[in-house]
Amino acid sequence: MVCILGIEGSANKVGVGIIRDGEVLANPRETFIAPLGEGFRPSETAQHHRQKIVQLVIKALHEAGIQDPEKMLDGIAHTKGPGMNAPLQVCAVVARTIALSWNLPIIPVNHCIGHIEMGRLITGADNPVVLYVSGGNTQVISYSAQKYRIFGETIDLAVGNCLDRFARTIRLSNDPSPGYNIEQAAKKGKKFLQIPYTIKGMDVSFSGILAFIESKGLEALRNGLYTKEDLCFSLQETIFSMLIEITERAMAHTGSKELLLVGGVACNLRLQEMARIMCEERRAKIFATDERFCIDNGAMIAQAAYLMFNAGLQSTVDKTTTTQRYRTDQVNVVWR
């Protein structure tokens, strides 16, 4: 039996997860919520993580029933990147400390790979096309020859970033998350505003949409022609259609019959619904998880590390650096 403790904190969530042979023993998490109208800043986010991380480790060990970590754990994993530097380092420091004091190997993990491997574990999807959508990432991924290859991605903003910034311009709350509040508001929207729709091959672009919303969208709001709810609805319908379309393009291009949704934006139920309809139309199977696992969490880092550990991959404390940019297709997927 192999048991790994994983620490994630690349953005505004900090989490500690423990996985033993595919079973999630514990996965507590805390979220830093930025004040109204603001995004989360690196230094404040890191401070939040510093304040929460020790109690999260203790909580995870307790929930998992691990009294003697040195004996009962086989490795400590942390997110190497991509993400925000200061918060990443908080987690790396804690990971190194406990790895040294419990005399355990340390395993640095690519955050995106964590999402994919957790999705595969939870849903049982075998070899899916992966739509990975979150605050910082927008990628359509498919595996071949030891790499998770990126078929489509955003050529400018990430989808979650676009949604978050839109939420700020219309002053929606960041609690529990801007995306969640847009989703709720969109349910009450009725009138569809035409928003630029930009697809380039299997890639998408959101910068024009944001610029449009910040000028024409706000104007329509002021004129009383459209409500906030209408804007949320129109934005969601447009952006999600673009995502589903590039996903379908990648599925047609690779001939894949499975789709896995991961990342924070993937817990949006409207996005899941659209993906399901698209998959039905092409007789493909859809796999999605709920907010426990599609939002950043510690177990996903533990799970990727578990696969890496079993494949003989581990690092030493002096080599466990972090990096803000770390592409999904840079990782050698030796465990598949």
């Binding site: 690349s10 953005a11 071949s144 050529i155 990430a158 993906a275």
Partner: protein, 229 residues
Amino acid sequence: MNTAYNSLLDPDSLRQGAEAKLYDCVYLGKPAILKERFSKKYRHEELDKRLNFARLRAEIRGINKAQQVGVKAPAIYFVDTNRHILIMERVEGPTAKDWIESQRQRAEEEFKVQAKFGEVLGGEIAKIHLSGLIHGDLTTSNMIVKNGDPGNLHLIDFGLANSGKVIAEDKGVDLYVLERAIQATHINCEHIVDAILNGYKSVNAKQGEAVMARLIAIRLRGRKRDMVG
């Protein structure tokens, strides 16, 4: 499929592309393909109508414009704008995607033939760009190597094409999308990408230089983008 067209079609030949259903058929005695952009149930009706119409129009314009500048694309035989249907020449041969993969067995020769393919492709793209046309969906699924001859390459699927106010940035993105699609789809095919860019530059040096500069900037942007969350 719409009943009006049923008698034309070979029902066993259905292929589902990304947004269209395609059938083999015979049109006025000639081998043809019927491409129907069906409505997508997942997206808002208004958006769906707008996109289907825009893409049919873009495809017709794109094919016409490409042909005008001597780039091979399937001849259009028939258009039904109400049903988003296009009947066009059937180009016999593998898609570039299948063709590249089928080349893998022949070790020595493969390199040369694939380089030839890349140069031809790069040249065709440069020609359409020079005319102010952006293909918009350059993947190896959207080109056919007619009769397996890389010198006889046909571009298809102009649904995302646009023309008019086209700047070097748009051309750079067109190439960037292709480059990334090849990297993701075809393992160890950097030489094809190199050949494409060489073929591209050889058509018109001025355009070549301007677009290569953009391409480098676009790649860099991709690598430097923040990836938080």
